[in-house]
């Protein structure tokens, strides 16, 4: 099959493709044409726009709320886009500003956190593992003198989060645990703390934990963040370091 010369015939061919009528080689050829030719791409979108009339005849169906939650989870698990893909003139979202603040805070206190690891966490690291132990000390933002929670990767890959002091949940709220690995665009929820002083996250839930990976607790509405992203204030935060003991 070859692409016709007349614009009218081209438009009909593209309509056939947009409708899904073409198969095999013919479909691939038109697909390639649309991908490489602005005129063809424009015609395809024009047809799609006209054909929206047929979609608009559909009675909208109620969508299960869990579906958006799954979308948000998948977004959170995706690797971060490179800066060059971003629009220069874009207003930073609330979310970006939030993480920028976190980064600023981290530089202020990471040195101390590393030092504290060696002295405070060593007793927890009992596994005779060949791998370098990986731990993080979570502190309250701006309160770097007092480590509050310790995150350690166990020999089987599970992650244990232990409180050095209890963290009671305020009435009508939830404390939610998050992690953000280097290169990930959005943090992932690890669930609610629910007044526990020790939590183990199974390795198949958390995946590989890397040096530099952030862990944090935020104060959310009861039941956790409605957006699958942290929305409330940070209670504790820290970053995984390889602890050389």
């Amino acid at each position: 099959m070859t692409i016709p010369d007349s614009r009218a015939d081209q438009s009909v061919l593209i309509a056939e493709y947009v409708l899904g009528l073409l198969e095999g080689e013919a479909a691939r050829e038109v697909e390639e044409w649309i991908r490489t030719d602005r005129g063809a791409a424009g015609m395809a979108l024009q047809w799609e726009d006209h054909l929206l009339a047929l979609s608009d005849r559909m009675v909208p169906q109620e969508v299960d709320a869990a579906l958006w939650a799954r979308v948000a989870e998948r977004l959170a698990a995706q690797p971060q886009v490179t800066t060059s893909q971003r629009r220069e003139d874009a207003e930073p979202s609330r979310w970006d500003r939030f993480w920028n603040d976190v980064r600023m805070w981290r530089w202020a206190s990471i040195g101390l956190a590393t030092a504290v690891v060696v002295f405070t966490v060593a007793p927890f690291l009992t596994a005779p593992d060949r791998a370098v132990p990986r731990v993080a000390v979570l502190q309250q933002p701006g309160q770097s003198a007092q480590p509050g929670w310790v995150v350690s990767v166990l020999h089987n890959g599970d992650v244990q989060i232990r409180g050095l002091s209890p963290l009671p949940t305020p009435e009508g709220r939830s404390v939610q645990i998050w992690t953000l690995a280097p290169g990930e665009a959005k943090p992932r929820s690890l669930g609610l703390l629910a007044d526990r002083q020790s939590v183990v996250i199974p390795s198949d839930q958390i995946g590989p934990v890397q040096p530099g990976q952030l862990f944090e607790f935020t104060l959310e509405q009861a039941g956790g963040s409605p957006t699958q992203l942290p929305t409330g204030p940070i209670l504790y935060i820290g970053r995984i370091v390889a602890a050389v003991l």
Partner: protein, 181 residues
């Protein structure tokens, strides 16, 4: 290019700037209708929900590639949906024939909901489709709502492939002229 109402193109631009609220807004606006179309085409709700998830991930990942000078944001979103559904349909081995042909009879008119839907634009296509006779309109609806190919339509309607192809081309040419008028 965008009609009055929600500005899909602006929301897609915000997605390109990694604004997840914009994606959620698009989702709230379009997911119910997109789901209806996907269920209609795939005839399986769980599969349609899977596709819908994939589509919103694709919208997010490809938002920076959307070019508003080529067409509307809403058309772009639905094109992602329909291509994704078509991929799934092509991967499925069999289609229930009789149901689909029956369905095509129902597809020919606007639904009562159409009149009460305030998001509804006055669609030229509806008027232009009305000018087509049933044998020419039917295959277009079978393709749009069920993702049937030329060959599948010929088989379903027990009509020679060449006849179906020329009938559809005739219908599309007539639509094109009507839409430009």
């Amino acid at each position: 290019m965008e009609s009055a109402g929600p500005d899909h193109a602006a929301l897609i631009r915000s997605c390109a700037a990694r604004d997840q609220l914009a994606l959620k807004t698009l989702y709230d606006l379009e997911a119910p209708r997109m789901l209806a179309l996907a269920v209609r085409m795939l005839r399986q709700r769980d599969l349609a929900e899977d596709v819908l998830q994939d589509v919103f991930i694709q919208i997010w990942n490809n938002a920076s590639r959307f070019d508003p000078s080529l067409g509307t944001g809403r058309a772009w979103i639905y094109s992602i949906l329909r291509y994704r559904v078509l991929d799934r349909l092509r991967a499925k081995s069999e289609l229930p024939l009789e149901d689909i042909v029956l369905d095509a009879q129902i597809d020919t008119g606007p639904t009562p909901e159409q009149a009460t839907d305030d998001r509804q634009r006055s669609h030229q296509l509806d008027r232009c489709l009305d000018h087509l006779d049933d044998p020419r309109r039917g295959p277009i609806l079978l393709a749009y709502y069920h993702g049937l190919s030329h060959g599948q339509i010929a088989e379903r309607l027990a009509t020679p492939l060449g006849t179906i192809k020329s009938r559809i081309r005739g219908a599309l040419r007539a639509l094109q002229e009507c839409l430009q008028a």
